[in-house]
């Protein structure tokens, strides 16, 4: 077990020493509390280095955990965004531009080195006991801020099902970009209620200002760009992954919500 900064030189040494045949890249800074330059460096440069070393040291399979956020939440989004949909996140949520860039880098890597079985996995909102996801942080806030008059459909998946999806992707030696979808979608209000939270409905103009200020002073974990994700849908079509691997989530919606502890 190594604990190394993947921007440092020592990182490549791990590849030389261990000669891995499969690499699973989960090392992203996903919260917005880090300085944006550091976050961008770790996420984009880090991903680039990981892939470079994979290619250099003969790695056979490479799996990268992207996110459904890369599609962006827009009012005209169809409800079953498939893998060919444009990655529009940066249009209104510039802070996660680095996630879009690393996803694009990985997709490019996929096509450039077909001998390496690369898989880009875009899961929906991950919830679970252990995982520190953005949606988990959001739902665990005591009074969850929501926009008055908006209640978008959201899909959820349990952390163990994501692990299973990664394992299956490796086992079946697939390559490509895949949306990984959980058991179904519910409106945000239902998710908040089922995880034991209470909503704090805010009118939008006030909310954008308040959240912007709170984020600036470190009182709130999300920038105002994230507001679009609690207004508009960003739901995915996971049929390509199911067709290729036969994946089926084990944890239903009730179990997923039950696993969120405050």
């Amino acid at each position: 077990m190594y604990q190394i900064d993947l921007r440092k030189k020592a990182f490549e040494d791990v590849f030389r020493k261990e000669q891995p045949s499969v690499v699973v890249h989960l090392a992203f800074i996903r919260h917005c509390r880090a300085a944006p330059e550091v976050r961008h460096e770790v996420n984009v440069l880090g991903t680039k280095r990981v892939m470079e070393f994979c290619q250099k040291h003969g790695v056979k399979q490479f799996v990268i955990l992207s996110s459904h956020y890369v599609y962006g939440a827009l009012p005209e989004n169809p409800y079953f965004l498939d893998e060919d949909a444009p990655l529009n996140a940066s249009r209104t949520y510039p802070e996660i531009r680095d996630l879009v860039e690393s996803d694009a880098l990985a997709t490019g890597f996929l096509w450039k080195y077909p001998e390496i079985h690369s898989v880009v996995i875009r899961p929906v909102n991950i919830l679970g006991y252990y995982v520190h996801s953005a949606i988990g942080t959001y739902l665990k806030i005591r009074r969850v801020p929501t926009m008055i008059g908006f209640d978008p459909m959201m899909q959820f998946i349990h952390e163990e099902d994501v692990t299973e999806a990664i394992a299956i992707a490796i086992e079946k030696r697939i390559r490509g970009v895949f949306n990984v979808v959980g058991p179904g979608a519910v409106p945000l209000g239902v998710a908040i209620h089922e995880t034991g939270g209470k909503t704090l409905p805010m009118p939008e103009p006030l909310a954008r200002f308040a959240i912007g200020q709170a984020f600036k002073y470190g009182l709130y974990p999300f920038p105002p760009g994230a507001i679009d994700f609690i207004k508009y849908p960003c739901t995915l079509d996971g049929s390509r992954f199911v067709k290729e691997t036969g994946f089926s989530p084990l944890f239903g919606l009730r179990e997923i919500f039950a696993s969120v502890t405050r």
């Binding site: 179904g184 979608a185 409106p187």
Partner: protein, 307 residues
Amino acid sequence: MSRARKTRGGRSRAQPAGRPPKPSGWRARLTPAVIRRVEAEIADRLAKVPNRLNEYGYDPWGLDLEVLKRSMIPSVLAYRYWFRVKTTGIENLPAGRALVVGNHAGQVAIDGMMVGTAMILEADPPRIARGMGEYWLPTIPWFNVFMHRVGGVVGTPKNCVDLLHNEEAVMVFPEGVRGMNKLFWQRYQLQRFGLGFMRLAIETRSPVVPVAVVGSEEQAIAIANLMPIARLLNMPAFPITPTWPLLGPLGAIPMPVRYHIQFGKPMVFDGDPDDEDEAIQRKVDQVKHAISTMIADQRSRRKNIFF
């Protein structure tokens, strides 16, 4: 005295067998019987709709039968008692996927509401019409939630294809605002049809069911459309009718014309969904012809706008 005899649920004695239980509570007692009847009928019809809801009662596009049940009460009352809709040809609505294509009129999309209500009340099995909305509708607070809970979605091609693959009945008005906001002297003249629906029908091999709606043109007699004011208020149109804006908000209520809705025989189109516009236009013209024939037929038989 009689109060002492009532049980906690408000029921004082067992109901005779075969009759629905009398509802309890003050809210139910204040509800007029006609509304309770309509509620029961709606619940009964919606229970028969073939759909796939998850364990929380939602489908992937946000449909919620509980919200639909409540929102249908005013539609059914309007259907039965205001517009007194006469629906014919409902047996032409196939089971499984279908594109319901109708003529659009009336300044407000009440024709869509009435066609959708007809499909729930009179079709066998009852179908929930999935309406295709404009791209900016999800930006409106509250309305965006309501629109999805009653089955509407944004009118993107991907949404339409996914709904059809899910064997839903998608309702489209290819004239769009051209038809809805036309002036009174253009009534019943079909405006230009968008070609998109035909490409999707061919791609998904869905039958196109033409629907003629007669009556919607006379519900709001538009004598002018003030576009500058519409643009100022960010609305698609600003019609002037004899009652609106003269009588204020009351003037926006549509006139109690009688609606005649006729469903035509389903038309199946095959070919290349990526064909040139001219080839698609020829197929669309067949649908337009079917609709205009039904409109002419209904109008000739109509003796009076209101009765």
